[in-house]
C-alpha cells in the first residue's frame, strides 16, 4: 500500500531523514516513536508529499514524484498539530474544506448533497454534530483537535497521518480517538501512521512501531519486539520499561 525506499529529506540542503525504508500494508497502524528532534514530523511531511525527497515513496505502486498534489491528497490525509487560527470559520465550514478534492470540478466549488452528507457523517463520528455552527476560534484545544480529525476523515483517504494527535485531548477523548482509529484502519484499504510522544497510547494503537534516532530508523517491528530489543531505552536514554512498571505500581496503590 505504501512503500518507502531509501528516503532522504530535510530542509534546504540539510538532510533530517536519512535512508529510511519501510513497507506499510493494508490495515496497519504504524506508530513512530523517538526523542524530540529525531525527525518524526519531517518523515510524516515527506510521506504526505509536502517535502521534496531523494529515494522514492510509492503509493499503491505509483511514485509520489509522478503524482499531482490532489492525487496524493486523495490517498493520504494529514491531521496536523494545532496552529494559530487567523480567520475564524464554523466547525461545519472547516470540516467541509476536507471535501475540497471532490468539489474541484464545479466552477465555484459548491459542495454537493453527497459532500454535505459525508461531512455530517464525519461530524457525528467525532462527536461534533452539536457544535457544528460554532466558530472554531471559540473552541477548546480538544474540540479543535477533533475538528481537524473530522476534516481529515472528510478527505476520505486510504492512509491517515497523525502528528501528535492526542496533544490537546483529555484522557477520555484520547482513548476514544485511539479506539476510533483502530476501527477505521480495519476498514478496506485503510492504514494509520502516527507520531506519538505518549508511549502508552502508541502501544495501544500500534501493530507496528518504528523507532527513530537522529533521522534514521533504528528499530521496526511489532510493539513487543521493539520493547524487548531495548532500543527504546537507548534512544530515550532512560529505562522505559522500568519507568512504566514503577508508574503502574503507584496506580496499584489506589
Amino acid at each position: 500500500m505504501l512503500e518507502l525506499k531509501n528516503v532522504f529529506t530535510g530542509y534546504g540542503d540539510i538532510d533530517i531523514i536519512k535512508d529510511i525504508s519501510l513497507n506499510i500494508g493494508e490495515g496497519t497502524n504504524l506508530c513512530i516513536l523517538g526523542p524530540n528532534g529525531c525527525g518524526k514530523t519531517t518523515l510524516l511531511k515527506a510521506i504526505a508529499g509536502i517535502l521534496p525527497i531523494r529515494g522514492d515513496i510509492l503509493i499503491d505502486g505509483i511514485s509520489i514524484k509522478d503524482m499531482k498534489r490532489h492525487e496524493i491528497a486523495g490517498k493520504i490525509a494529514v491531521m496536523s498539530q494545532i496552529s494559530n487560527i487567523y480567520f475564524s470559520y464554523t466547525v461545519f465550514e472547516t470540516v467541509m474544506l476536507g471535501r475540497y478534492l471532490y468539489m474541484k470540478n464545479s466552477i465555484f466549488k459548491e459542495p454537493s448533497q453527497n459532500d454535505k452528507a459525508y461531512v455530517e457523517k464525519c461530524l457525528k463520528a467525532t462527536g461534533l454534530s452539536s457544535i457544528r455552527n460554532k466558530q472554531i476560534d471559540t473552541l477548546s484545544g480538544g474540540q479543535l483537535q477533533r475538528v481537524f480529525l473530522a476534516r481529515t476523515l472528510a478527505q476520505d483517504p486510504n492512509i491517515i497521518l497523525l502528528d501528535e494527535p492526542t496533544n490537546h485531548l483529555d484522557l477520555r477523548y484520547q482513548k476514544e480517538l485511539i479506539d476510533y482509529l483502530k476501527e477505521w484502519s480495519k476498514e478496506d484499504r485503510h492504514a494509520v501512521i502516527g507520531v506519538f510522544h505518549d508511549i502508552n497510547l502508541a502501544m495501544d494503537l500500534a501493530d507496528q512501531v518504528l523507532v527513530m534516532e537522529k533521522g534514521k530508523a533504528v528499530s521496526l517491528g511489532k510493539p513487543e519486539e521493539v520493547i524487548k530489543d531495548h532500543t527504546l531505552n537507548r534512544v530515550y536514554e532512560m529505562d522505559i520499561v522500568g519507568y512504566m512498571v514503577d508508574s503502574l505500581e503507584q496506580w496499584k496503590k489506589f
Binding site: 509536502i50 490532489h70 493520504i76 496552529s83 465550514e93 478534492l101 476534516r151
Partner: protein, 340 residues
C-alpha cells in the same frame, strides 16, 4: 440574522451611499431628481420638466462617473487586500505588501517627469505605465522570493516585498528631489484623487476589475484552505505554489490597475476585509464580493468627505481614508481581541 438578509441590506446600503455621493456637493441635488435623471438617461427618455438642465450635466458628466470610479477602485483595493491577508496568512497584510504601489508610483512618476505619451493610449499612458511598473515590481518580488526560498514561504514573500518597496520608495524620493518642478504633481499622485475623472476611466477599469474578481471568486475555496497554512493546504490537495502565483498576481493586477488611475490610496484594503469578516464570517465565497461592496462604499464616502469638507477646495482622498480608517481599524481590531 440570516446571511441573505445581511447581503440584501449591504447592497441597499451601498446603493444609498452612491446616491448620497452623487447628490451632495457644491450644488445639492435631491435623490428623487438623481433617480429621474438616471432613469431618463439610461432608458433614453425625455427629462421631466421639473429638473434643471445643469443638474443633468453635474450628475451624468461629473459626479456619477466619479462616484462609480471611486466605488470600483475602493472595491478593487478591498478585494485585493482580503486576498493578500488570506494568502500570506497575515491579518496586517495589505494590497501594497508586495510593492505594487511603489512600482506604480515610479512608473507614473517617470511619465509625469518626462511627459512621455504613447500615441494610441493618449491620456491612459500614465495609468498604463503605472500598472506595468507595479506589476513588474510584484513579479520581480515573487520571482526573487521563489529563488531564495523554493517553497515560497509567506515570511519570505512579505520580507522581500518590504525590501522591494523600501528600495523603490527611495527611487521615488530621488526622482522627486531631482525634479522639483513636478514635486506637487508627484506628491499629490501619491495621495490619490478622483478629481476630473470621466466615463472613459470607468469603461477601461470596470472590465479589468470584474474579470479579476470573477477569477478570484473561483479560487475562494483555495483561499479558505490557505488561511490554515500552506502545509495543511497542500495536504488537503491545493497546489499551493501555482495557486499562490495566480492569487498574488490577480491581487496585484487589481491594486495596480486601481491606483494607476487615481494614485495611491491606503487603508481601504486593510480595513474593509476585517469589517466584512466580522459581519459575514471568514468564508471567501462572501468575503470577496462583500469586500467589493464595503470597500467601494467606504471609498465613495471618503471621496465625498474629501471634496465637500472644505468648501471650494478638495483634500487628497488618501489622507481622508487614513484619517477615518486608522482609528476605525483600531476600534474593529481591538474590540475583536477584547471579545476573544
Amino acid at each position: 440574522m440570516k446571511t441573505s438578509i445581511k447581503v440584501i441590506i449591504s447592497i441597499v446600503f451601498c446603493f444609498f451611499i452612491i446616491i448620497l455621493g452623487v447628490g451632495i456637493g457644491s450644488v445639492n441635488i435631491p435623490p428623487s431628481h438623481i433617480l429621474k435623471i438616471l432613469w431618463s438617461n439610461i432608458l433614453n427618455r425625455p427629462l421631466p420638466v421639473d429638473i434643471e438642465a445643469n443638474f443633468v450635466s453635474i450628475i451624468w458628466k461629473i459626479r456619477l462617473p466619479r462616484a462609480i470610479l471611486a466605488f470600483i477602485v475602493g472595491g478593487a483595493l478591498a478585494v485585493s487586500g482580503s486576498v493578500m491577508q488570506s494568502v500570506l496568512k497575515n491579518p496586517l497584510a495589505s494590497s501594497y505588501t508586495l510593492g505594487v504601489s511603489s512600482g506604480a508610483s515610479v512608473g507614473a512618476g517617470l511619465v509625469m517627469i518626462t511627459g512621455f505619451s504613447i500615441p494610441i493610449l493618449g491620456k491612459f499612458t500614465l495609468p498604463f505605465v503605472g500598472l506595468l511598473a507595479g506589476l513588474l515590481t510584484v513579479y520581480l518580488a515573487i520571482r526573487f522570493s521563489a529563488k531564495i526560498d523554493k517553497n515560497m514561504e509567506n515570511n519570505t514573500i512579505i520580507l522581500v516585498g518590504m525590501v522591494f518597496s523600501l528600495f523603490i520608495n527611495a527611487m521615488i524620493t530621488l526622482m522627486t528631489a531631482l525634479s522639483r518642478e513636478n514635486l506637487q504633481k508627484l506628491t499629490f499622485w501619491q495621495m490619490g484623487s478622483f478629481s476630473l475623472k470621466e466615463w472613459s476611466d470607468v469603461v477601461v477599469l470596470f472590465p479589468i476589475v470584474v474579470l479579476c474578481i470573477t477569477i478570484l471568486m473561483k479560487y475562494s475555496k483555495e483561499l479558505d484552505i490557505m488561511t490554515f497554512g500552506e502545509e495543511q493546504a497542500m495536504a488537503i490537495g491545493v497546489d499551493t505554489k501555482r495557486v499562490k502565483w495566480i492569487l498574488l498576481g490577480l491581487s496585484a493586477a487589481l491594486t495596480g490597475s486601481a491606483i494607476a488611475f487615481v494614485g495611491v490610496i491606503g487603508f481601504i484594503d486593510l480595513i474593509s476585509p476585517h469589517v466584512v469578516r466580522k459581519i459575514f464570517g471568514a468564508s471567501h465565497k462572501l468575503v470577496i464580493p462583500m469586500s467589493m461592496i464595503f470597500g467601494g462604499a467606504f471609498m465613495v464616502v471618503c471621496d465625498l468627505i474629501a471634496r465637500t469638507i472644505i468648501p471650494l477646495s478638495e483634500l487628497p482622498v488618501g489622507a481622508v481614508t487614513a484619517i477615518i480608517g486608522a482609528p476605525f481599524f483600531g476600534y474593529v481590531y481591538f474590540s475583536r481581541r477584547k471579545v476573544e
